[in-house]
Each structure stands twice: as C-alpha cells, then as structure tokens.
C-alpha cells in the first residue's frame, strides 16, 4: 500500500491507512478463512496433519476448524463421499454463510478416485460447486497447503468470483500434487 516501514513504525507520520474496500475485504477473507470440519476418510488424517505442528495451518489463520457450518467459510471435503453421505454434505454446505468456498481434497472427492462403483459419488462437484481440486491419494500436507494458497491467491485477485461467473458454479481450479517431491530417494527394487 505504498508505505515505507524500513525504519520501523515510528517513522509513520499518519496513523491512517487508506485502501480500497475490495482489497481490505479480500485481505480479511483470505487471512482468516475458517474451515468446517468435513473429514470423511483417509484424507481427513492428512488434513489434521496439516493442522498439526509440522505443517501448521495456524500461520494462515486457519487452525480453527469450526464444527458449526454457520461459522465456517471453507469446506474442505476430505475423503470419499458415499451415497448415504451426499445429502448430509449438501445440508452442511447449505448451512454455510456466503461467501463460502469448497476445496475438494483428494481424488475420491474430486472424481470418485479409485472407487468407480455403486457406492461412491463420482466427484463431489455433483453435489456442491467446487473451487479448488487437490489431487492425491491422499494429498500430502504440502499439496493441501498449495491448494489453500492457490485459493487465497485467487480470492485476493478476484479471480475466483470471475471464474465462478464463467462456470456457473465453482471456480474449478486444479492444483498440481506437490508432496513427495523432495528429490530422488533410492529404493531397492532388486536383489542386492
């Protein structure tokens, strides 16, 4: 916003900051986005791990997973959605207040994953509009944080609402899977 803090706060002449309302609103939305607890299966364990100390969602202001959807803005659908769970998912989504976002975490939530059968809804976008798809089975914490960071970016530059208007639903952003990319790890697949 054009201020010079290089010598600390003491150099500020005025204690008023001006900005556009949209920018402040976007800043507030991205910096304290509270997820609703919607951990269903294995991805939920990775989501909880992302909230833990190693990967720490608290630095994004997101460690408070609200149990009540009325208090949440982000629904991270973590896990496979069965036919019995689908109406419950929709009910929770409907109870959230606008503005709300949905991250489909994992391949089961994004497309049905490896379970292309009678029991699993083939993609949670059949039920709720999805903004970001995070691939992986399960996506590691790095991928989930990348997905969350992508969502934050897109909200901050207004892209999410533009994309939603275009698609008539969710923003449909797919991120790449980032975990497991620490470099080549030797694996012994043959006889020594």
């Amino acid at each position: 916003m054009g201020l010079d803090f290089s010598n600390g706060l003491g150099t500020i002449d005025h204690n008023v900051v001006t900005a556009r309302v949209e920018d402040v609103v976007k800043w507030a939305r991205t910096r304290s986005m509270w997820p609703a607890t919607f951990g269903l299966a294995c991805c939920a364990l990775e989501m909880m791990g992302t909230g833990g100390a190693h990967y720490d969602l608290a630095r994004f202001g997101m460690e408070v997973f609200r149990a009540s959807p009325r208090q949440a803005d982000l629904m991270i659908v973590a896990g496979r959605v069965s036919q019995k769970m689908a109406p419950v998912l929709r009910q929770i989504y409907d109870q959230m207040m606008e503005p709300k976002w949905v991250i489909s975490m994992g391949v089961c939530a994004s497309s049905g994953g490896m379970f292309n059968n009678y029991a699993i809804v083939q993609g949670v976008d059949q039920i709720v509009p999805v903004d970001v798809y995070a691939p992986g089975c399960p996506p590691g914490p790095e991928t989930l944080i990348h997905a969350i960071g992508t969502l934050h970016e897109k909200i901050a530059d207004g892209e999410v609402f533009r994309r939603r208007a275009d698609n008539g639903g969710g923003a449909n952003i797919t991120v790449t899977q980032l975990d497991g990319q620490r470099g080549p790890q030797p694996v012994s697949l043959g006889l020594k």
């Binding site: 607890t37 269903l40 069965s82 419950v88 929770i92 699993i120 497991g180 030797p186 012994s188 697949l189």
Partner: protein
C-alpha cells in the same frame, strides 16, 4: 429428483433425503421390546419382558438427539442417536454406512497385486495391517512360505504402523477430552513415524507395500539410524504425556469408571483388541497365534483391570512402549536375505533385468496387468491391528481376481459395545467412550 438436478435448497427434500427411516432410533413406545432391550445394552442380562417392564422415565421426559455424522469429535462419519433423560444417556443406536465404499465389491475386480491398494484404505489409520491380513490369506491359498527377512520387515512395518495409530489415538482422545495440546503432540509423533514410513515405503499413508510373497521393496540404506533416532525420542516424550494425562486428576476423573465393560460382555459382543484386553482378558493374536516373526521377539501383552476408558487409554499407551521394544529388536536382529519370495509366479523380476531380458519384461508385464492366478479355495487369516482382530476371508475361484473378499473389521464389531457402555453415563462421557473405542469408519463401513 436428485440434489444435482435441484440444487436450490429445499429443506423438505433434504430432510427426507437425510432421514434413514428404520435405521434410526424409534421412540420407546414404537421400538419393539427386543430393540429396546438391545439398545438398553442389557442384552446379556435381561430378558425381553424384563426390558419392557423396565422402569423407565416417562416418554415425554426423554428426548432423542442425533450426534453426527458430521461432528467435531474426530472419529469419522459415525452417527449416534441417543435417547437422553436430561444429560443421562439411556439408549444408543449407532447409524453407520456414511462411508460405505463398496470395497468388497471393488475387490472382486482387482488382481491380487492391486488388491492391496483397495484393502489398505479400509482401516486408513493403520493401512499396513489391512495389507498384511490380505496377503496372509492369499499366501495361505497359494501355500507360500516366506523368507525370514520378509517376515521381519513385515513385522517392523506393522509395529511402526501400530505406533502411528496409537499416537493418533492419544491425540484424538486428548482432544476429545479437551486437551488440544495433546492433539498437537500426538500429531508431532505421528509425523515422525509417517516420515519414516515414507522413507521405507514411498508413501505416508495407504502404502500398498506388503505384497504377496513379501514386501514391494527392501528397506533403504540407513534405516537403522533413522529408526533408532525415532525410537530414542519416544520414551522421553511418553513421560511428558504421562505427566500431562495419566497423572492428572481431571483426566482420571473423566476416564476412570467410565464406560466399564466386563469380560463376558466383551466376548459375547465380539469385541477384540484393547477393549477385550482392558477387561483383563489377555488375548493378543501376536502372542496366541503368532504370525510373521512375533514368536521370535520379546514383548508383553498389556491388560487392564476394570474395563473402563482409563484402562483402554493406558493399554494403548503401553502398547506404544511394547512396539518400541519390538522395533529395537528388529533393528538388532533383522536377518539378511530376500525381502520377497523369489517365486516366479508371484514375484515380478528385479527392475534391472527388465532392461536386459525380453522374458523378464514379459513376466513383469503379465504380473502387473493380468495378475497371477490363485488356486481355488477359501481362507481366513487374521492379524492383531491396533483395534483388534483384523481378518480377511478370501474365496478364490482359480482366476486372477478374488471371487469374494471380506475383511472382518474390528471396529465394525467393536461398535456393538457402544450401547452397552454409554448407558447411564452423561453425554460428555459418551464422547470419552467413543474415543476410547477408537473406531475407524473406513473399516466399519468398507
């Protein structure tokens, strides 16, 4: 009309769609005598007529409330209907199926190499155990005998997974009882374990590493140092958790005497694992019917005395110590040799040979696409998972895919103790009890 066709919110439609009819709890006058009897948890002591005549508060004074399937107690999608008299729980009815994935049906379409990817996602907190039970059943049908190193590596991975699963229990149990710091500590330990599993198997969860004939790959170089560093950090931290939890009066008040069950009841209801052992019954498959290399290592079977939540917590805490003991013995005594049975039928050739030999390439191709055929027959194999007896019942028709794959999930059977344990306690106790049963809904619903 499906939700997708009519996305504008109609509360009535959703009410109808989320109602599970006969699976839900009926008010006392409508529920038949046997259902009341069963839900009261008096299955083992009262007769039906006694249950009906039971002195119960006036129906107008009790209320039926619904917990879940989405609720903050982090045990997955379990829905509990509770009949409450004020704060006291009278009847309980678990409604499950919110994570039913049709895995047993999917399993009939996957080859025996792919089968591990399917079963591993059942009990997703301890995936190695699912794979182990599945591979043991297939190996029973094939009549394979594994080299010692393969058995020891499998045992090492099992115990490492038991560690991460029990840390998950400590974390969620702590959180359910209000100790958010325990949640963070438990996840810290679990993370280190997952990194170790990632180093060995390539994945943090859902590994598909235990394969028919052994494991998918050998242990990487330097595993002893990494594992030793992890194991050395655990006892000190467990002391901290003991100070935070075991020795703390609030913890004891909340867990001691809560959710008590005795041996006859646990055995009648089919409960296994820490629930059965908390009643004082020393039944652990690793000791009773040893598999892998459990008869060659020294460890204790932990039992409780009162069958309450505190005992189950203490058993799991001490099972962490026993697993650490077993893992130290693995580091010292792991034999050299093959990590996999070199049987042409089930083992693909080493990757190096694929570049050199056409025959090896074809062999590799056939195993990974068609799969190998397993002789006709049926087998049941079981392992001691952190939740109890995890069994795999496999029927083969001689082809490359199972004819029927059934996993006996311990949590599915253990959930039957809930109506019995919850009766007479408060709702807060209900949270503690569910947490102490430690269900994983993936293996409940499959």
């Amino acid at each position: 009309m499906t939700i997708a066709e009519n996305p504008t919110n109609h509360h009535h439609d959703l009410e109808r769609l989320t109602s599970e009819g006969a699976q839900e709890m009926a008010p006392r006058p409508l529920a038949g005598g046997v259902e009341v009897l069963r839900e009261l948890g008096c299955v083992l002591r009262m007769s039906e007529s006694e249950a009906e005549a039971l002195e119960a508060p006036d129906d107008a004074e009790t209320s039926i409330i619904n917990m879940g399937p989405q609720h903050p107690s982090t045990h997955g999608v379990l829905r509990l209907m509770l009949e409450l008299d004020g704060e006291i729980v009278l009847r309980t009815k678990p409604v499950i199926g919110y994570l039913h994935t049709g895995m047993e049906k999917t399993g009939e379409d996957l080859t025996y190499v792919q089968g591990g990817t399917n079963v591993t996602r059942m009990d997703y907190a301890s995936p190695i155990f699912n794979e182990s039970a599945f591979c043991l059943a297939v190996e029973q049908l094939l009549g394979l005998e594994l080299p010692p190193r393969a058995q020891w590596i499998r045992m090492l991975l099992n115990e490492l997974n038991r560690l991460t699963s029990h840390f998950l229990f400590l974390a969620t149990n702590g959180m359910d009882l209000g100790s958010t710091s325990m949640m963070i500590y438990g996840w810290r330990e679990r993370e280190e374990g997952l990194r170790l599993l990632e180093m060995i198997t390539g994945l943090r969860m859902n590994h598909n590493f235990i394969r028919v004939g052994g494991t998918a790959a050998d242990l990487p170089d330097g595993w002893q140092e990494r594992l030793a560093a992890y194991l050395e950090s655990i006892p000190g931290r467990l002391e901290e958790y003991e100070a935070l939890m075991t020795d703390q009066p609030i913890w004891r008040e909340r867990l001691q005497g809560v959710g008590a069950i005795d041996t006859d009841e646990a055995v009648a209801l089919g409960a296994t694992g820490p629930i059965l052992r908390s009643t004082g019954y020393a039944w652990d498959l690793r000791r009773a019917t040893p598999y892998f290399a459990y008869d060659q290592v020294d460890f204790d079977v932990i039992v409780g005395s009162y069958g309450d939540c505190f005992d189950r917590y203490a058993i799991r805490l001490n099972e962490i110590r026993e697993s650490v003991k077993i893992l130290w013995q693995c580091i010292e005594h792991l034999p050299a040799g093959d990590y996999r049975l070199q049987d042409r039928k089930v083992t693909p050739p080493p990757r190096r040979r694929i570049d050199e030999s056409m025959e090896a390439l074809i062999h590799h191709f056939k195993i990974y696409t068609e799969g190998f055929k397993v002789p006709e027959g049926e087998a049941y194999a079981a392992v001691e998972s952190p939740r109890g007896e995890l069994g795999c019942y496999l029927v083969s028709d001689g082809s490359g895919t199972p004819y029927r794959l059934h996993m006996r999930g311990p949590s599915f059977v253990n959930l039957q103790v809930l109506p019995h344990m919850l009766r007479g306690g408060t709702v807060a106790d209900a949270v503690a009890i569910i947490s102490s049963v430690d269900p994983i809904m993936g293996e409940v619903d499959r």
